[in-house]
């Protein structure tokens, strides 16, 4: 029998129902694995074993009740150990956003996404590492140290949801929540060989997600397959009166039984296969497209002509929104205070010393883009070009149901490889930023390995609120392939 941490989330859910093992046993297996591997990987910023065991006991009790009447509906996530990215509030548990400016902050309430998972019976193992305020592509910007990629400990796990991706890839947990503002779920999923969903903007409530770029931020999840991801999506999605940008649309019923993709049209955008992309990434993505074709999908080349403008648009809009959102860290209501005699000096000192270099860089970039005399030229212009990028997607989605493309130009890079060169790091995001600017959903999933045995990911994008098609297509692919079943040697 395989180790408890090596089965899938759905297998675990089924075994819990049958009583093959308890949620407490499953949780203890995860806690032991975390204890053994955490010194090498550093996926967690806070571990919550006491909370986990108490949630597992409650789940076992609920399962015992349920066995008296198995007609009662029971959530698939009941008793399943998960981890939460440290930008999502969990009441009473330190939530730092990877920043010294939120050291020891204990939120007075939980994020809606987290609360809904708790209502659906999950067991929370801890909070995972992230680039500070989700600003980064490697977790190297965390104030609390870098997470290591389970496939090669000298490499980054991607970011900013790198702790979540590494924890899932290392089988420390069955699923983890992440957030995606410019690729922060999809790129680490790709680097760690797992499946990650960036939801449509407005599909999952942002209440309790500590804000970075409010017009771009989305809550998503990372798991080892699309089938494992579905119960988390279903639990989290849907209207929330506490987030005025959360769409009232009903959550779709998604059935993964019929695996055919007959009649599904998939577009492959030519702008995503550019110079600088690693050969093996292009080859693996093109081979995966052939598998979609064999599954019945119709493949056609499409064009998203403004793709190359997504990078400058994103790196003006996101910092502008960040500069406003991060104004709240004033050492008045929460966070550490570096004392001064005057309030003004206290602001300068606390923020200057406790924000990390990338966060300060983006705050200043955003402040500049919004400042008198530059607003129209930078921020206003970026918002207009954003319209062109959004229109590109709307035009293409008149002809195809899904867009297939790489997640990142390369596989996981080495820790420290980009040094202090912000532009080199920003280039990691060129294939993931457009979906955030357009607000459309995307799912990343593994499609091969390179010569260094590092996972290669690709993504599918769907029209706004079109998650159903993503689940069906990626699940169909995963019934034909076993890339997602590979496990790193640790």
């Amino acid at each position: 029998m395989p180790s408890l941490t090596d089965i899938s989330l759905l297998e675990a859910a089924s075994a819990l129902r049958k009583g093959d093992f308890s949620s407490v046993e499953l949780t203890e297996a995860c806690l032991e694995r975390i204890e053994a591997l955490e010194p090498q990987i550093h996926a967690f910023l806070a571990q919550t074993p006491d909370l986990a065991i108490s949630q597992a006991k409650a789940a076992d009790q609920r399962l015992q009740e349920w066995r008296k009447n198995t007609e009662e509906p029971l959530p698939l996530t009941l008793g399943i150990p998960v981890a939460i990215k440290d930008v999502l509030c969990l009441e009473g548990i330190p939530t730092t956003c990877g920043s010294l400016i939120l050291e020891d902050f204990r939120p007075p309430y939980s994020a809606t996404s987290v609360a809904r998972l708790i209502d659906n019976g999950v067991v929370i193992l801890g909070k995972t590492n992230t680039d500070e305020f989700a600003m980064g592509s490697s977790t190297e910007n965390s104030a609390y140290g870098t997470t290591h990629n389970p496939w090669d400990l000298d490499r980054v796990p991607g970011g900013s949801s790198g702790g979540s991706a590494a924890a899932v890839a290392a089988h420390m947990c069955f699923a983890a929540l992440g957030t995606d503002t410019g690729g922060s779920v999809r790129q680490p999923a790709s680097f760690c060989g797992i499946t990650g969903l960036k939801t449509s903007y407005g599909r999952v409530s942002r209440y309790g997600l500590i804000a970075y770029g409010s017009s771009l931020d989305t809550v998503g999840a990372l798991t080892r397959s699309a089938a494992d991801l579905l119960p988390l999506f279903t639990a989290m999605a849907g209207h929330d009166p506490l987030d005025s940008t959360c769409m009232p649309d009903p959550v779709p019923e998604i059935n993964l039984d019929d695996g055919s993709l007959a009649g599904i049209r998939i577009g492959v955008p030519k702008e995503y296969f550019i110079e600088g992309i690693q050969d093996e990434v292009e080859t693996a993505v093109r081979s995966a497209v052939k598998i979609f074709e064999a599954l019945g999908a119709e493949i056609q080349e499409v064009s998203l002509p403004h793709t190359d403008l997504a990078l400058p648009v994103y790196y003006l809009i996101a910092p502008a929104e960040a500069s406003a959102n991060l104004a709240r860290y004033d050492a008045v209501r929460f966070g550490p205070r570096l004392k001064s005699e005057k309030l003004w000096d206290q602001y300068l000192k606390t923020r200057g010393e406790l924000f990390g270099p990338e966060v300060k860089r983006r705050i200043m970039l955003g402040t500049y883009a919004l400042s008198a005399g530059y607003y129209d030229a930078y921020y206003g212009q970026a918002q207009k070009v954003r319209t062109l990028i959004k229109d590109d997607f709307e035009t293409v989605f008149k002809d195809v149901d899904l867009i297939a493309c790489p997640v990142a130009p390369t596989t996981a890079f080495r820790i420290g490889e980009h040094g202090d060169d912000p532009l080199a790091m920003y280039l990691e995001d060129i294939f993931t930023l457009p979906a955030n600017l357009a607000g459309v959903p995307g799912m990343a999933f593994p499609v091969g390995f390179d010569r260094n045995d590092l996972p290669i990911g690709m993504q599918l994008n769907a029209p706004h609120m079109g998650e159903k098609a993503l689940f069906q297509a990626v699940h169909a692919y995963q019934t034909q392939t076993d890339w997602h079943r590979r496990k790193p040697d640790l």
Binding site: F105, R106, P108, Y109, Y201, G202, S215, P241, S244, T245, M247, D308, L309, L311, P312, V313, Y315, L316, S323, A327, D330, V332, R333, F334, G335, P336, R337, E341, K342, L343, Q346, L348, K349, R351, G352, K360, R361, I363, M364, L365, T367, Y368, S371, A377, Y378, G380, Q381, Q383, K384, V385, R386, T387, L388, K390, P422, L423, L437, A438, G439, H464
Partner: protein, 95 residues
């Protein structure tokens, strides 16, 4: 497009960030190269293009304004670096 150290100092002050002289020099250089890389954006003809502030079709949905439970004052003050008499305590604002 390049930023001088004086401009960086001005922006940092607007953003309430105290920087060391070394940081001011480094950010002047880094922010300049980021803005230079964005220069091609400024060339795009957008005279007829409306800005996108949100991708959503929603516009300010309304709901009934009814009271609901909320965290207590003690809870909201529990993260404060300094609190007194049920309030956040700060150093003097005025001279």
């Amino acid at each position: 497009m390049s930023l001088t150290v004086d401009e960086v100092r001005h922006i940092a002050n607007l953003a309430r960030l105290q920087l060391t002289p070394e940081e001011e020099r480094r950010y002047a250089q880094q922010l300049s190269s980021i803005l230079e890389s964005a220069a091609r954006l400024l060339e795009v003809d957008t005279a007829q293009i409306p800005p996108t502030a949100t991708v959503l079709p929603l516009r300010a949905p309304l709901r009934p304004d009814t009271p609901r439970p909320c965290p207590t004052r003690e809870k909201m003050l529990s993260n404060a670096p300094e609190a007194e008499a049920g309030m956040f305590r700060v150093p003097p604002v005025l001279e």
